[in-house]
Point group: C2
Chain length 459, copies 2
C-alpha cells in the first residue's frame, strides 16, 4: 500500500497547540449563563470559587476570548503523552469496502486510557499554582479518576475520588490503578458525606450515579482546607482544555488538505465531543464549511435525543449551580446494566445550545450494536476501544456503509476517545451474549423530568 | 522547558525500517547451531518445517544475511501501530536530579500492550502466505498470546493459545481479551494433550510453566491439519522481527546525533532485548562504539546470572530441537509468586553467546525493587509499566543515580516493552505489601540443572 496519506499522522512537538480554542467566542447565539441556584441570577466568579479552582472559573465564565494560551507548565505535561495520533482507518475502509475516507483521533495511548488527561493535567496545574494541597472529584467508568490520579501524582497533590458504586464493582482494576498513583478511592454513595448518607437512606441498594458522586465530591471539597472540586466533563472550561483534540486533528488534516464532511463523537457530558468538534464547528458557524456534526449517545442515557433543554442542577443533591442543558433530570439514574461511561443525566451547555439551534445532530444506540461495531473495528484496526468510544465507531461505520450505498466518497472523522482495557467484564458479557439492551421507558424518563427544578426559565 | 530534543520522538512513516537487521551476520563468533535432538546434528529446514512456518525457519537458520526485507504485507501491519515513540525521560531525569540523559523506546501503545506484536504480525503473515488455516502457541503473562490473537484476527487465521495456568488465574482479563479477538484459550497444563496429561499426572497442582505450555502447543500444531506452532521469544527469527525496535530507536537518535552509552533491556527469552540492542551491538562488534549493554532479569528466574551455557530443550516434554543457551534446565519452574512474564528457563542463543563472550552484561533484580522503580517512574512519566519492563526501569534508574554520584552525563537508553494494564493484581500485592521476593536456592537450581540433556556438548 503506497499511501500519500500515512496511516498514522503525528504532529511534531513544535506543531502542538499553544492555545486552547474557546468556541463560545465564535457563537453569535451563546449558551445561556450558569445561574446561582438561590438568586437565579448569572453566577459570578465569587459564587463558583469556593468550589472550583480560580483559573478554571475564569475560563468557565469567559465566552468572548477566542484563544486562551496554554501555560508552559501544562504544555510540558501535554508533551508527556501528546501529540495523540490521527489515524487513517485504511483497514476498516477496506473491510467495509466503502468509498469513504475514515479518520480517527486516538486519545487512548496514555495510561489513563482516554482523553480525560487533557483537562486533568490543566486543572491539577492550576490547583498547584493556586497553592492548594488536594482535590476531590468523582468518576464513573474510571477514566476521569485515573486521569486525575495521574495528574495529581505528577503535580504532587492529594486526591479523593468518589467512584460510582456500580462502576467500582464492574472495574476493580480501575480502583487499584488509581490507588497505585496515590489516590484515595471511595465507592459512592458512601457514608463519608451528608449527601451520600441521605442517598443511602433513601435507597440502600442503589448502584450510584455520577450525580450522586458529584454531590459527595463537592461536599468534601468545600469542607476540606485548601481543597477544591474538579470535574472531568460537562463544564465549558473542560471543553476548552479538550479543544487540543480538535486543534491537533485539524492541524494534521490541514497538512494534507483534507476537509471532513462528517465529524462524529460519543457524548456523555460532552468533553470529548466538544473538544473534537470545536475548531471545525467554529469554521461552520463562520460559513466556511458544510461539515455535519453527529453526537452519539447510549440509548440507556439519551440526554440529547430524549432529554429536555432546561435549567438543571449538575448533581443529585442539588447543590451545584444551574446549567441550561439537554437533561434527563438530575434524579435520572441510568440502568446498572449499561457498561462504561456516558451515564450523566445532562450535557454540556454549549453542545446543548448547538443541538437546540440545529448545528449538531444526535443519535442514540443500544449496547450490543455498539459492541458489534467495536469488535468489527478491533479485528482490523487492532485497537480495543472503550465502550464509550465504540458509540462513535458505530456511527462512523453506519455513515461509511451509507457511502457504499450512494457511492459518495465522504471524509469521516471520529473521536476514538480511549481504550477498553478496564472494560473486559463488559466484553465478556458481550461474548457470552448476556449483555442487556435496556432502554428507559417513557415513565422512567418522566420520573427524571419530575426532578427538574421548578423555576421560571423551565416553564 | 524549551528542548532541542523533543519529549517524544516519532519517525515519519517513510522513515520506518524496510529491512530487519540480522545481528548474527555481523558476529564473527556465531551462536552454536540448533541441534536435532535425535541425531545431535545441526537441524535442517526439513527438521523444523513440520513444527514452524517455512519462512521463519529459513530466517532461523540464516546467520549470514545482514538485512532481510520486510514484506509489504508486514509493513502494512506495522503501520497500524508503529512507529513506536522514543521518549526522552525529562521528568524522570528531573525527579532523579541526574546529569544523565535517559531515553526509552515505548512499545506499549498497541492493544497487545507490548512489543510482541512485531513478531506476531510477521509470523501470522507468513502462515497466511503459506496457506495455513490456524496456529497454536503458548503464552505466559499473556502479552504474546494477545499479540497473536490480534495478528490472527487481522489475517483471518484460527488460533489456539495455551496459557500458563498461574498466569491465567492472575490475569482473567487477559483471557477475555484474547477470546474477544477470537482465540481459543486453554489453561496449561491441560488434558487436551499428551504432554499436558503427563505433567498433570506427575504434579496435579502445578501452576504450569512456559516450558509445559510450549510442549502442549507444539503437540497441538503437529497433530492439526494446516496448523503450525509459533513462538514469541527465544528463537532467532523472533529477534530478527524485533530488530524494528532497535532500528527505529537508532534512526530517531541518529537524527539528533545522540549516541547511547548504556542500553538496557529486560530479559525473559530475549525478544525485546535482542531487538532493541541489535543495530547498536552490530556497531560495537565492528569497533565503532563502546556502548555497554545490560540485560535485566528477575532474581526468581536468573538464566543469565545463575544459569549454565549448555545445550537444552526449549520445552519441558523435550520435544523441541536443542539450543545452546544460558539455561536453568528445561525442568526449572519459577515460583508462582513471581508476577508477570520473564519466566522462561532459557535464553535466546545469540544473546547467550554475546553474554558468554563478554559483550553483554546481566543483572538480576527482586520483585519489590522492580516495583519500587515502576512506581517512581509512573508517577512522573505517567506510564504504567508492565512488571517485565520495570526490570529495565530499575537498572536505568540505578545507572542514572550512579551518574549523579560521579557527575557523568551518560546517555542511557532502555526498552519500555509494555504496559501493566493486565497486571493490576501484582500492583495490588505491591500496594498491600504482600509481594514476595522469592529467590531460588542453590538446591532449587540444582534440580533444574539435573534436567539438562546428557549429551557430549554439555559435558
Amino acid at each position: 500500500m503506497a499511501n500519500k496519506i500515512p496511516t498514522r499522522l503525528y504532529l511534531s512537538e513544535d506543531e502542538m497547540p499553544k492555545y486552547w480554542y474557546n468556541l463560545r467566542a465564535d457563537m453569535k447565539e451563546k449558551p445561556d449563563p450558569i445561574l446561582h441556584p438561590g438568586t437565579l441570577q448569572p453566577a459570578r466568579a465569587a459564587d463558583l470559587e469556593p468550589v472550583f479552582c480560580r483559573e478554571p472559573v475564569k475560563q468557565e465564565l469567559d465566552d468572548t476570548t477566542r484563544l486562551i494560551p496554554i501555560p508552559d507548565g501544562i504544555q510540558d505535561f501535554y508533551r508527556a503523552y501528546r501529540p495523540a495520533p490521527l489515524i487513517r482507518a485504511y483497514f476498516l475502509e477496506k473491510a467495509l469496502d466503502t468509498p469513504a475516507e475514515i479518520y480517527y483521533k486516538f486519545e487512548g495511548t496514555n495510561t489513563s486510557g482516554s482523553h480525560k488527561l487533557n483537562s486533568a493535567g490543566a486543572q491539577a496545574f492550576y490547583a498547584k499554582e493556586e497553592g492548594l494541597t488536594s482535590l476531590a472529584t468523582e468518576t464513573g467508568a474510571g477514566q476521569w479518576g485515573t486521569a486525575m490520579a495521574m495528574a495529581c501524582a505528577f503535580y504532587g497533590l492529594g486526591l479523593t475520588v468518589y467512584m460510582v458504586k456500580v462502576s467500582a464493582e464492574q472495574k476493580p482494576y480501575r480502583k487499584i490503578l488509581m490507588e497505585t498513583y496515590g489516590a484515595n478511592l471511595i465507592s459512592s454513595p458512601s457514608n463519608t458525606t451528608e449527601a451520600g448518607r441521605k442517598i443511602l437512606a433513601d435507597d440502600p441498594d442503589t448502584g450510584g450515579s455520577l450525580g450522586c458522586a458529584i454531590s459527595e465530591a463537592v461536599e468534601t471539597a468545600v469542607k476540606t482546607d485548601r481543597c477544591r472540586y474538579v470535574l472531568g466533563s460537562v463544564l465549558n472550561h473542560v471543553l476548552l482544555h479538550q479543544s487540543v483534540i480538535g486543534l491537533e486533528a485539524k492541524a494534521a488534516l490541514d497538512k494534507y488538505g483534507v476537509k471532513p464532511d462528517i465529524i462524529i463523537g460519543c457524548a456523555g457530558g460532552g468533553s470529548n465531543l466538544g473538544g473534537l468538534i470545536a475548531p471545525f464547528m467554529g469554521e461552520k458557524l463562520a460559513g466556511k464549511s458544510d461539515t455535519r456534526f453527529i453526537a452519539v449517545e447510549p440509548a440507556s442515557c439519551p440526554s440529547f435525543t430524549r432529554g429536555r433543554y432546561a435549567y438543571d442542577f449538575g448533581d443529585t443533591a442539588k447543590i451545584t449551580p444551574l446549567i441550561r442543558m439537554q437533561t434527563l433530570g438530575n434524579g435520572f439514574i441510568p440502568s446498572s446494566n449499561h457498561a462504561g461511561g456516558l451515564r450523566y443525566h445532562g450535557m454540556n451547555s454549549t453542545l446543548s445550545k448547538l443541538y437546540h439551534d440545529g448545528h449538531l445532530e444526535a443519535r442514540a444506540e443500544v449496547q450490543t450494536d455498539v459492541f458489534d461495531a467495536a469488535i468489527r473495528f478491533m479485528k482490523v484496526e487492532g485497537i480495543l476501544p472503550a465502550p464509550e468510544s465504540a458509540h462513535a465507531i458505530k456511527a462512523a461505520i453506519d455513515e461509511a456503509l451509507e457511502c457504499k450505498k450512494t457511492g459518495e466518497k465522504k471524509v469521516i472523522l471520529f473521536g476514538l476517545t480511549g481504550t477498553g482495557y478496564f472494560d473486559m467484564t463488559a466484553y465478556m458479557a458481550y461474548n457470552n451474549k448476556t449483555m442487556s439492551d435496556y432502554v428507559p421507558r417513557d415513565e422512567d424518563l418522566a420520573r427524571g423530568f419530575a426532578t427538574l427544578p421548578d423555576i421560571p426559565q423551565n416553564r
